[in-house]
């Protein structure tokens, strides 16, 4: 009987080892360990043994059963894993196929530039002021120290609708309106918006374009405050290592007037095609608010002083992104617009 048991064990272990899958293995389990299996049969046949052999034989059967069970379980783990692997393998996909596109739009590059400037000045306590694009000659010119017949009106030939109404040529009338509305109180605003001038559209001219101007009026506002403010702007907009320089210039509504250059952000000042070998790039015009402008808006120019600055988002966008033709901003070619999607920080 012992020999029979050993043979049974060897036979079972062989079958376990050769079971190719979970089902076959389960068949082995049923065949050998099941209620109708040979081991159970052996246990049942124990009654025929002499009483003194029963415990020894019983122990032996149990050992064999344990061994077969353990082997079966071990084999089961392997086969299950194989089965899972097989399933996973069959489920493999081509991960190089494209993902489902997430449809996103993006702002116009000019909006991007304008909002970046807005956010910077808002963080410094400025408010955003807006005004009409169709303006009175008074706000567009006269209130800004540009009386009728002033030679500087030539600088910005305009689109008139009537003798007194025109498409604004700059966003400065918003400053004039704000000053009038504030009635002598301090001001800290920036004014973004569309403006219009009689220019034939070409690579560098557009009859419609955008501007952002800033105005600060308060007690003892000095030219050094203008320089400091513009320096903060230049660093934030074009990089921390930017330097600025002011050059004397002329605008009827400021005195003194300056133009601001920044050190070239491409070559750092050594000279390249962006800065036309000068190391400097002209970015904006600025100055101390002309006393006539203050007085006309009801400010006491002896007590309150101010500075103003103005720049062109088109120019900034062209410089920053390397855009060579201003007409791109108004053509709305999807292949152009969709390039202004990603962050730069």
């Amino acid at each position: 009987m012992e020999a029979q048991l050993q043979a049974l064990k060897t036979e079972a272990l062989e079958k376990i080892a050769s079971a190719a899958n979970v089902k076959e293995l389960n068949d082995v389990r049923v065949a050998y360990l099941g209620k109708k299996g040979p081991i159970t049969d052996l246990l049942k046949g124990m009654g025929k043994l002499p009483a003194e052999e029963r415990p020894k034989m019983g122990a032996l059967v149990n050992v064999v059963r344990e061994e077969v069970t353990t082997s079966l379980e071990e084999r089961m783990v392997i086969l299950e894993e194989e089965a899972i692997n097989l399933k996973l393998q069959s489920e493999t996909i081509d991960i190089t196929l494209p993902g489902r596109p997430v449809r996103t739009g993006n702002p116009h590059p000019l909006t991007r530039v304008i909002e970046e400037i807005e956010d910077l000045f808002v963080s410094m306590g400025y408010e955003i002021a807006e005004g009409p694009e169709v303006e009175k000659d008074y706000y567009n010119f006269e209130a800004l120290n540009l009386p009728k017949g002033h030679p500087a009106r030539d600088m910005q030939d305009s689109f008139y609708i009537t003798e007194d109404i025109l498409l604004r040529t700059h966003t400065s009338p918003v400053q004039a309106r704000t000053m009038e509305a504030k009635g002598g109180e301090p001001i800290k605003i920036i004014c973004p918006g569309k403006v219009y001038r009689r220019d034939n559209d070409d690579a560098t001219h557009s009859h419609q374009f955008t501007q952002i101007e800033g105005l600060v009026i308060g007690e003892d506002i000095r030219m050094s405050d203008l320089k400091g403010t513009l320096s903060v702007f230049a660093k934030k907009m074009f990089g921390d290592d930017r330097e600025i320089r002011l050059r004397p210039s002329f605008f009827p509504f400021t005195e003194p007037s300056v133009e601001m250059d920044i050190s070239c952000f491409k070559c750092g000042g050594s000279g390249c095609n962006v800065c036309k070998k000068t190391g400097w790039i002209e970015i904006l015009g600025a100055g101390m608010v002309h006393p006539n402008v203050l007085e006309m808006a009801g400010y006491d120019s002896k007590r309150l002083t101010g500075f103003a600055f103005g720049m062109g988002p088109e120019r900034i966008a062209m410089l920053k992104y390397g855009v060579e033709d201003i007409r791109h901003f108004y053509t709305n070619d999807v292949r152009f617009l969709s390039q202004f999607q990603r962050t730069e920080v």
Partner: protein, 800 residues
């Protein structure tokens, strides 16, 4: 303003500065140097040659074979194609090895079998603009004066070894529209003195007054007039130095008389005019306003009709010049002129500006008068011109001048304290430094009681107030010296207004929905101005449009936005989704327009395109409607849609967007005809009065408790007549469902073959919910039966 450095050096020491360095200093001090132009263009090996003989080329009748004496190397054969080449001329010869402007290199060559050892040059070939070349030489080679030395270098002998600074002058710096003005500026920058030109000549015994009388009938427009008479002159070509000065300054040489007037104009900034005395006929000059419809033919051969606000110079009878703008053809100096009248006058800027504008005529003279000339240079300029003409045309200057003079020319006094200057700048410039700068500017200054009392020379009419002095001091002290500080203002938070914040929110929402932001022009054509306009008003037209395409202010954004869509589809970008926000312009009673901020959207092609997975969804009305609904939710604004009609939109696929009973927008598919017109496929569009939405204040945001009890849904499929709208049925359901009915949603629409003709099937999901407890089946059945009953009453047929 073009400034020849060689010429400039006649008035001021430029301290041997390299032209680029000098240019940089001028730029940094206030006048922008736009360009530094080397007149030599790096030319070499260009010499004076003498044409010994000149014969026609046998093989080519336009070519001449010249034997040219080029100095040390003797005679060279050169083939020349210029029509004006002739033996006995001194000419400009580019020798083999010469480099000319534009990278041209001269080599020995053979032309139709004949050797050519170099090239005889025109001025254009030396880099001089064609419009500046004297007319006599415009079509051929330039002929040098007889005294030119054979074999000598052309570049150094004829002032081509010069650099020109191109100044970009701002309107305030009219003083720098003259060589002397620039000399004063450079003198101030470099601390150098200015040397004024000389005027010396011998006067004839006869007086000018014996030949000419003067009447000024318009003293307010012409408060100063000086005339000089010069007789026995010989009108001829100017000497080379004068021609070169003028060409360097961008002026074309004509003859010695005209050239001198232009030279002095450039030198002093004072316009001059020379009349042929004999052509004046009357020996009289009268300055007056023109008569209505009076005619004059100006030097450019244009006949011009005048009106009384134009000022004219007359001979007492008829106009002989348009004052300050251009001379008349009837009194022009010609080769046969022997006696001339030189005019130097002060004309009020407004009058000249008007005349110049009315006739579209801007000259070197008018541009200076418009900005205001220096009243103290009118007389010296006349004297300087007389002296040069006497020298160059061999004339005899009659004694004295004929002068009308009512012109005030006091120096302006500006008083300013050093404290004021330093406070405005945020600097501490020492007092002595301020005085030194004013001295460099040649502003006579007295210092008294902590004040600078400055007499501003009349050449600097831009200096009027204290702030102007602040700028003068600062720019010459150096803007680099200004420290960088920040304004010490009351700390107030900046920020966006609710309107501005919401506008950005709209932008982010639309971009999140997959739309690209576009920007189009506000000016449009008559045809497009009102297309898709939400409000009917008259159009607004520019007084002087540049083109019909840009003549009217838009009343809607869509036409140009659709142009942009077509721009893309024409370039095979089939799927386009653009939006734009911007003003439209509506006429009102007021003189200003009502500028309404609109939002427009235009979409065509595929909305969803996941091609390899087989998902493709073209845009349609409902894609856009979904965006609008989402936007309404984002802004907390209730929007509804009402079937409508609009020109150029599909009559069955158009809806007005309603808020609070008001139409605030339109959404629809383009009419097939319009689509074809615009070369587009199915395109859906929106035009919305965005301002109306953004101006509404949203309700405070309060949370509703998260449901603690489950909701129960029931589906209902209905057979309806095709003309019944789902929205109508939804209203019926909501009406009958009461407060337990939480939501109604369409989940299926079927209009296929299996339906009876004229019918469709619409299926709704109804969600019942009670926030207080779990609904029982009986409760739901009770409400739902009410709903079904209501549906049956309106003729909806329940589908099993």
């Amino acid at each position: 303003m073009l400034v020849s450095i060689k010429w400039l050096k006649e008035y001021v020491n430029t301290q041997e500065l390299d032209p680029a360095e000098l240019g940089e200093k001028i730029t940094r001090s206030g006048i922008e140097v736009d360009a530094v132009i080397d007149r030599s263009h790096g030319m070499t090996n260009v010499v004076v040659g003498y044409v010994e003989s000149c014969e026609k080329h046998k093989e080519a009748d336009k070519l001449s074979i010249c034997q040219v004496n080029v100095g040390e190397d003797g005679i060279e054969q050169i083939i020349c194609g210029a029509p004006n080449i002739a033996a006995g001329q001194k000419v400009i010869v580019a020798r083999p090895g010469a480099k000319l402007p534009g990278g041209v290199k001269i080599k020995k060559a053979k032309l139709r079998g004949e050797v050519s050892n170099g090239m005889i040059c025109s001025l254009q070939e030396l880099g001089i603009e064609g419009k500046l070349v004297p007319k006599a030489y415009a079509e051929g080679i330039y002929v040098l004066p007889e005294n030119a030395e054979i074999g000598s270098d052309v570049v150094t002998n004829f002032d081509l070894d010069d650099t020109v600074l191109e100044l970009g002058l701002t309107p305030n710096r009219a003083d720098a529209m003259s060589m002397l003005g620039v000399a004063y500026e450079v003198g101030a920058i470099l601390s150098e003195e200015v040397k004024l030109p000389e005027a010396t000549y011998t006067e004839a015994a006869d007086t000018a007054a014996s030949m000419l009388t003067l009447n000024i009938d318009a003293p307010e427009a012409n408060p100063l007039y000086v005339a000089k008479v010069i007789r026995n002159i010989e009108v001829k070509e100017s000497p080379m130095w004068l021609q070169q000065r003028l060409m360097a300054a961008g002026v074309r040489p004509h003859n010695n008389v005209v050239d001198v007037t232009n030279f002095v104009l450039m030198e002093y900034g004072q316009p001059l005019h020379a009349f042929d005395y004999d052509s004046l006929k009357t020996g009289n000059i009268t300055v007056r306003h023109a008569k209505q419809d009076e005619l004059i033919t100006t030097l450019d051969d244009a006949e011009r009709k005048l009106s009384p606000h134009h000022l004219v110079i007359t001979n007492g009878e008829e106009p002989v010049a348009l004052a300050g703008v251009m001379g008349g053809a009837n009194s022009e100096v010609s080769d046969s002129t022997t006696t001339i009248v030189i005019e130097s006058a002060y004309f009020a800027s407004g009058s000249i500006r008007q005349t110049s504008k009315d006739h579209g005529l801007r000259s070197d003279a008018s541009s200076r008068y418009e900005k205001g000339v220096d009243p103290n240079r009118v007389i010296p300029a006349a004297e300087r011109a007389a002296s040069l003409i006497a020298e160059l045309a061999g004339g005899e200057v009659l004694a004295g001048s004929i002068i009308f003079d009512e012109l005030e020319r006091e120096e302006k006094i500006v008083k300013v304290s050093p404290d004021f200057i330093n406070t405005r700048l945020g600097m501490k410039i020492p007092f002595e430094d301020m005085l030194e700068i004013l001295e460099r500017l040649k502003f006579k200054t007295e210092a008294a009681n902590n004040q600078l009392i400055i007499s501003v020379p009349t050449r600097r009419q831009d200096i009027q107030i204290e702030e102007d002095v602040v700028e003068e001091i600062a720019r010459l002290y150096g803007y680099d010296e200004i420290p960088a500080t920040l304004p010490q203002t009351e700390a107030r938070p900046g920020g966006l207004t609710p309107y501005q914040a919401k506008r950005r929110m709209v932008r982010h929402f639309l971009e999140g929905a997959g739309l690209l932001q576009a920007t189009t022009y506000s000016l449009t054509s008559e045809k497009s101005a009102k297309q898709f306009a939400l409000t009917e008003t008259d159009t607004t037209r520019l007084l002087m449009p540049m083109s019909e395409e840009r003549s009217i202010l838009r009343q809607s954004l869509l036409p140009h936005l659709l142009d942009s869509v077509t721009h893309n589809t024409a370039r095979r970008i089939d799927s386009v989704a653009l939006y734009e926000t911007g003003a439209v312009f509506l006429k009102t009673e007021d003189e200003l327009l009502n500028e309404e901020e609109h939002l427009a959207i235009a979409m065509t092609g595929l909305w969803l395109d996941n091609s390899w997975q087989g998902e493709k969804k073209p845009v349609d009305f409902f894609v856009l409607k979904g965006i609008v609904e989402g936007l309404g939710e984002k802004l907390g604004v209730e929007l509804s849609f009402e079937r409508g009609q609009m020109d150029d939109l599909h009559p069955g696929r158009t809806a007005f967007i309603i808020h609070d009973g008001q139409r605030i927008g339109v959404i629809g598919q383009l009419h097939p005809t319009e689509q074809k017109e615009r070369d587009l496929k199915t395109t859906v569009v929106l035009e919305l009065n965005l301002a109306e939405l953004l101006n509404l204040a949203a309700d405070p945001l309060l949370y509703t408790p998260v449901p603690r009890y489950p909701s129960i849904t029931r589906d209902v499929a209905l057979v309806l007549s095709k003309i019944v709208e789902a929205g109508t049925i939804e209203k019926v359901i909501r009406g009958a469902g009461g407060k337990l009915l939480k939501d109604v949603r369409v989940f299926d629409l079927y209009e296929g073959d299996k339906m009876e003709a004229g019918k469709k099937s619409v299926a709704f999901t109804l969600t019942y919910f009670d926030p207080e407890k779990t609904l029982t089946d009986e409760e739901v059945v009770a409400v739902h039966d009410k709903v079904l009953k209501a549906l049956t009453e309106v003729g909806a047929e329940l589908r099993s």
